[in-house]
């Protein structure tokens, strides 16, 4: 089918630039195709920005904007502002960086919660209300936010509601030595991202998004998704469990993943592949669990192991 080839082309193009991360790239692309947003939590220099740029570059005609979040960043710096134009004696709206196809929100946890929340509406409903006027955002609108997991000084941890807006949270992590050598080789002349040419049009992406929604999802797997998400509720180590939005996101992302797997239906393997990325960042650990050194991803992985999978 046409959809598969588009998806595969997209994936190969990004993979040629961001070395050694095929799994994460597939997940991030699936997240985009599913209409969700992704939060990359990683150390500086692991290729978060490159990944975002590469995705933007491969899509012909897609706009890419980047916002570096700082403590003094204001909501209007993201959404845009109306400025009085003395010539026309009128207020003219200057759209902010949110009016784009792909938005890289770098170090999102450095901005104040007020600014972070400015993104809430845009991410949830693909629209921005500025000074009472509703502005529709593009049909792709894909937010890639990043945050640094180690540095906490001068940061404002994302509110739970904001976290829930992200369909997935992925981690790039360090690549193997061989891959790192390849990265060095790639960048001797110029950055490979600059030479990346588009492999898909905006329209193709939009049709991919539509196709993802058509991927078949059996009744039994719906139960499986609900069981996975439901297992977080009532778990003694979890203070705040995953919401139905998590189930919804899990379904949508695994549907999108099916496209990359060149299938027109979802299998349990696909659900398991993205479940941790989709669920883990939404749950809040109980204090004694947090201080015993476990993290949410470990607990979700354990839950996946405990729940019988349909065979």
């Amino acid at each position: 089918m046409m959809n598969y080839t588009t998806a595969v082309r997209l994936e190969n193009a990004v993979c040629s630039v961001v070395r050694g991360q095929p799994k994460v790239i597939r997940h991030v692309l699936a997240c985009m195709i599913s209409g969700g947003h992704v939060l990359l939590e990683d150390f500086p220099g692991t290729g978060k920005t490159t990944l975002a740029k590469a995705i933007a570059r491969t899509i012909g005609g897609a706009t890419f904007k980047r916002v570096q979040f700082t403590p003094d960043l204001l909501p209007s710096d993201i959404l845009g502002v109306s400025i009085f134009d003395p010539r026309s004696q009128d207020f003219r709206f200057h759209p902010g960086p949110v009016f784009t196809d792909i938005l890289l929100a770098d170090e999102i946890n450095r901005a104040s919660p007020r600014t972070q929340s400015a993104l809430l509406e845009s991410m949830g409903e693909r629209q921005a209300t500025i000074e009472g006027i509703k502005h529709d955002l593009g049909s792709i609108f894909f937010v890639i936010a990043t945050q640094n997991p180690v540095e906490f000084r001068g940061t404002y941890p994302l509110p739970e509601a904001q976290m829930d807006r992200f369909a997935m949270q992925c981690t790039l992590g360090y690549v193997s030595a061989a891959e790192e050598v390849a990265i060095l080789a790639d960048q001797t002349d110029s950055h490979p991202v600059d030479s990346l040419s588009p492999v898909a049009t905006r329209e193709e992406i939009v049709s991919l998004m539509a196709a993802a929604r058509q991927v078949r999802f059996s009744e039994e797997l719906r139960h499986y998704v609900v069981a996975l998400v439901g297992a977080t509720r009532g778990h003694p180590a979890i203070q705040l469990a995953a919401s139905p939005r998590a189930s919804l996101a899990l379904m949508k992302v695994s549907q999108a993943l099916a496209i990359f797997e060149e299938q027109d239906f979802v299998t349990p393997e696909m659900i398991q592949a993205v479940a941790t990325d989709v669920i883990a960042h939404r749950i809040l650990l109980a204090p004694d669990a947090k201080y015993s050194g476990v993290n949410a991803r470990q607990i979700v992985n354990e839950l996946i192991e405990q729940i019988p999978v349909p065979v």
């Binding site: 078949r216 999802f217 059996s218 009744e219 039994e220 797997l221 139960h223 499986y224 069981a227 778990h235 003694p236 180590a237 979890i238 299938q263 027109d264 239906f265 979802v266 299998t267 349990p268 393997e269 398991q272 650990l285 109980a286 004694d288 669990a289 015993s292 476990v294 470990q298 607990i299 354990e302 996946i304 192991e305 405990q306 729940i307 019988p308 999978v309 349909p310 065979v311």
Partner: protein
């Protein structure tokens, strides 16, 4: 194992029926916990029960022999439940605490999973090897080889290869097991002998400690308890056996035959009052006297089995209130009982003029060993027995001679071996040189002395009544109160009388203070006996059985109610699915058992596809597997309609894979 093959087979059937019956129950962790607690409760009660009715040495093997029956509830949970294994936290409180803490902290739970069936199997084998039946010879010879052969068969069929090494290993382990079994047998024999509180009684022969060295070791456990009725005095000597022939160091009954025993007559003067008469040829008038209300009487309590000799005063006339299958008596007055229950209670009426013993047989009751006759004559001369006018005077002379010159001692100093020539026998040495010994020396010497003096005398063994427990107002007879004395024929009265020549220091030498352990053991014994006696009364028995059956019924109803709520059907249950609707199984699912043999059972969370892909080394990179998995996923998870061709193709592919797997 517990001596009830039928029960064993029934239990085996119940456990095995899990393989044929498709019903399964969904036991939650809480239910299994409760079941284990219930099981522990059952085992605890059974332990108390077994320790109540058995001596501690025998109780443990019996408890283990009953373990398969006691652990049955847990095993049923295992075989009829949905879960394949139970977490250790079910059994151990510590493990449970740790699990709860780990869960709270979100740590990975390393709790061990146990298949209870294995434990149950081991328990059954241990119980089978410890059971009472294993002691009978043909069975015990066959048991171990059978076990080894069975184990070998199982191992051979599962491992398949290397039969030789398996054989060697089996031979080794079988040999070690054999040695272990012999050792265990010895140990249990030793324990059993120590444990049997009453030495095995033989009415025809009593081995004495004459000629043995070292202290006499007797059990301080309570053997019998006596309660005298008001105004009755206590009996001093309670006889269990009488013998008339001394040979070597053994007193024997010359008429060594069980035929000498005759069943006792019983009369029932009033309804429900059965008296056994010790003397069988009494006139009705004499019978009335023998059960006379004015005669002294006491009630005796104790543990008895078939042929246990009943300790009775020499002049007992009748017995009443005993619940017996039978009671018999030989011509020496030894009374054996065949009780209905292991713990008996009854009243003994004594001090009548009737005697259960036959008159003396001069041929036997005057015989003395030739080697001792010289020294006996010398002593009789020294006492000047001929000058004493009456039997009483003669007895008094002997008694005072012993009193004056002899010392009672429980530490034996005379050996029957290596006697210097001047002493002809142990009795000789006792009478002339050592002059200290225990009751058997005194009784034997006296019997021989009196016989030498022409008075028919027999040797009697039994107990001396000397300990009064004032808190319970009863006399207590322990193993340490075992005693020996003489039965002397009083020709004038023409009946036998007791004569105890042992110096009175016997009583002083017996320590009356009991250790704490002994007090506990006494308390347990008393409690056990009183409880059983209470239970054995017809009215109480009914109360007990009614209460027990109501309790059991209640528990059964409760369990049945809970069970009916959690019942599941296996077909659904085996899938262990979160999805309650019927799902379509494809033919690829049929590969699962084959794959399980290679890969072990599939982890709960691993999808069939990725699990089967691990089979590649056996399938040799076959593309059929990939195609089959794809088809399976399509049939299974694609909600759109599928064609017959697809499922046919999958069946074909599965067959190919199956044959490949079987070949490799």
């Amino acid at each position: 194992m517990s001596g009830m093959p039928l029960l064993g087979i029934l239990m085996g059937l119940i456990v095995e029926s899990a393989n044929w019956i498709k019903s399964r129950w969904d036991f939650s962790a809480e239910t299994t916990n409760r079941a284990w607690q219930f099981n522990v409760l059952v085992i605890g009660l059974a332990t108390v029960w077994i320790f109540l009715i058995e001596t501690p040495y025998l109780a443990l093997p019996i408890l283990i022999a009953w373990l398969p029956a006691l652990l049955l509830p847990m095993q049923l949970i295992q075989s009829f439940g949905l879960i394949a294994s139970l977490p250790l936290s079910t059994f151990s409180f510590l493990a449970k605490n740790r699990q709860e803490r780990n869960l709270r902290l979100g740590l990975k739970d390393p709790t061990l999973q146990i298949n209870f069936g294995n434990i149950y199997f081991i328990g059954t084998i241990i119980a089978a090897s410890l059971g009472s039946e294993t002691n009978s010879l043909p069975y015990s010879r066959a048991f171990l080889p059978c076990l080894v052969v069975l184990a070998g068969w199982r191992l051979l069929s599962s491992s398949g290869s290397r039969p030789l090494s398996l054989l060697i290993a089996l031979t080794f382990s079988g040999g070690i097991a054999l040695v272990g079994q012999i050792g265990l047998d010895e140990l249990s024999n030793w324990l059993g002998n120590r444990g049997s509180s009453r030495p095995i009684f033989n009415p025809n022969s009593a081995t004495t400690s004459i000629g043995r060295l070292g202290p006499i070791d007797l059990s301080p456990d309570i053997m019998w308890r006596l309660r005298t009725s008001e105004n009755s005095r206590k009996p001093n000597l309670l006889r269990t056996g009488t013998y008339n022939t001394f040979y070597g160091s053994t007193w024997q009954n010359a008429r060594v035959t069980d035929k000498d025993f005759r069943d006792l007559d019983n009369i029932e003067p009033r309804d429900g009052e059965i008296y056994f008469l010790l003397n069988d040829n009494l006139t009705p008038d004499a019978q009335k006297k023998a059960i006379g209300a004015n005669l002294p009487r006491y009630t005796i309590y104790g543990t008895a089995s078939a042929e246990t000799p009943l300790p009775l005063p020499g002049d007992t006339t009748s017995l009443r209130d005993f619940e017996l299958d039978g009671v018999d008596c030989n011509s020496f007055g030894t009374v054996r009982i065949f009780p209905k229950h292991s713990i008996i209670q009854g009243t003994v009426i004594w001090q009548g003029k009737t005697n259960p013993e036959s008159p003396p047989i001069l041929k036997e009751d005057l015989v003395i060993p030739q080697i001792d006759s010289e020294v006996l004559q010398k002593i009789l001369k020294e006492i000047r027995i001929d000058e004493q006018p009456t039997l009483q005077a003669k007895l008094a002379a002997i008694r005072s001679w012993f009193q004056k010159n002899f010392k009672y001692s429980r530490t034996l100093l005379i050996s029957s071996f290596n006697q210097p020539n001047e002493y002809r026998s142990a009795i000789h040495k006792f009478l002339t040189n050592v002059r200290s010994g225990h009751c058997e020396y005194f009784a034997t010497s006296t019997a021989l002395l009196l016989r030498q003096a022409g008075i028919p005398t027999r040797y009697a063994i039994g107990y001396a009544v000397m300990e009064f427990d004032s808190t319970h107002e009863e006399y207590v007879i322990r193993g340490t109160h075992s005693h020996a004395w003489c039965r002397v024929w009083d020709a004038d009265q023409s009946h036998w009388i007791d004569f105890d020549p042992t110096p009175g220091s016997l009583f002083a030498n017996t320590s009356m203070t009991n250790s704490r352990a002994q007090r506990i053991s006494d308390y347990q014994k008393r409690l056990r006996e009183d409880f059983f006696l209470w239970r054995n009364k017809p009215n109480n028995r009914m109360i007990v059985s009614v209460v027990m059956s109501i309790l059991a019924l209640g528990v059964l109803i409760f369990i049945a109610n809970k069970l009916s709520k959690s019942k599941r059907h296996e077909a659904k249950a085996r899938l262990l699915s979160i999805y309650q609707e019927q799902v379509i199984h494809t033919s690829l699912n049929a590969l699962e058992p084959l794959a399980e043999k290679r890969l072990g059972s599939r982890p709960l969370s691993e999808p069939l596809g990725s699990w089967l892909k691990r089979l590649r080394p056996w399938l040799g990179g076959s593309s059929a597997l990939d195609e089959a998995i794809l088809l399976h996923q399509r049939l299974r998870f694609d909600p759109s309609p599928h064609s017959q061709i697809e499922s046919k193709r999958l069946t074909e592919l599965t067959k190919v894979l199956e044959s490949k797997l079987k070949r490799n």
